[in-house]
Amino acid sequence: MKVRVEYFAQFGQLSGCDNELVETDASTVSALYHQLRRRHGLPEPGPAIRAAVNDEFADWERPLCVGDVIAFLPPVSGG
């Protein structure tokens, strides 16, 4: 299935784009992250790395649906 993946801050730098259309057989957000981690050299998942689906924070085990927009968020550094 096809999903849109958005990369923010250093994840955009690592993957060389701020978003891309991805054809994947991953069934969860976590599985997708692991596939893309290998492709783009993203860091190992840790508590400070979060994911969002369709503009809302999402659990790593959330199932993926066709057309979802998944954002991978590195540790935040505002303020």
């Binding site: 958005e6 250093q10 979060r50 503009d55 809302e56 924070f57 590195p74 935040v76 550094s77 505002g78």
Partner: protein, 143 residues
């Protein structure tokens, strides 16, 4: 009672935000400026950029100010975070709280700035005097 969180690409002007804290029942107004400093983690910083997941940042920032209103005896809570290009000395984040008494106003403003820094999806890219730049990762710095 009110709680407001915004992202702003324009410079933050506290004099424009202060009137929203006015309330005749409030004897205390606490404000906090987070400003861009010229050094971080031992490196000389020239300027920085903030970027955000805008929808998520506004939603999460609003949750933070709503929580402050619920947890503390305060009347008005305002927080504005800059995005875009910032210079040294610019206000990166501003928090304003009004309350009947100072204790709650101090506590609520501390809560807002601490939670915003921990939870709201905003990222800082620092530009250094040696010509390099880097996204700040608070989980890796020495602080």
């Amino acid at each position: 009672m009110s709680a407001t969180f915004q992202l702003d690409i324009e410079p933050i002007r506290p004099e424009r935000l202060l009137p929203s804290l006015n309330n005749q029942t409030c004897g205390a107004v606490v404000t906090f400026d987070g400003r861009v400093r010229d050094h971080n983690d031992g490196r000389s910083v020239l300027r920085l950029d903030y970027t955000a997941h805008q929808k998520l940042a506004v939603a999460e920032g609003q949750r933070v100010v709503d929580e402050a209103l619920e947890k503390f005896a305060v009347e008005h809570v305002v927080c504005v975070h800059r995005i875009g290009h910032l210079a040294i000395g610019d206000i990166a984040v501003w928090v304003g709280v009004s309350a009947a008494h100072r204790g709650a106003a101090f506590e609520a403003s501390r809560y807002v700035i601490d939670e915003v820094k921990q939870r709201v999806p905003i990222w800082k890219n620092e530009f250094y005097s040696d010509g390099t730049e880097a996204w700040v990762d608070p989980t890796k710095t020495s602080r």
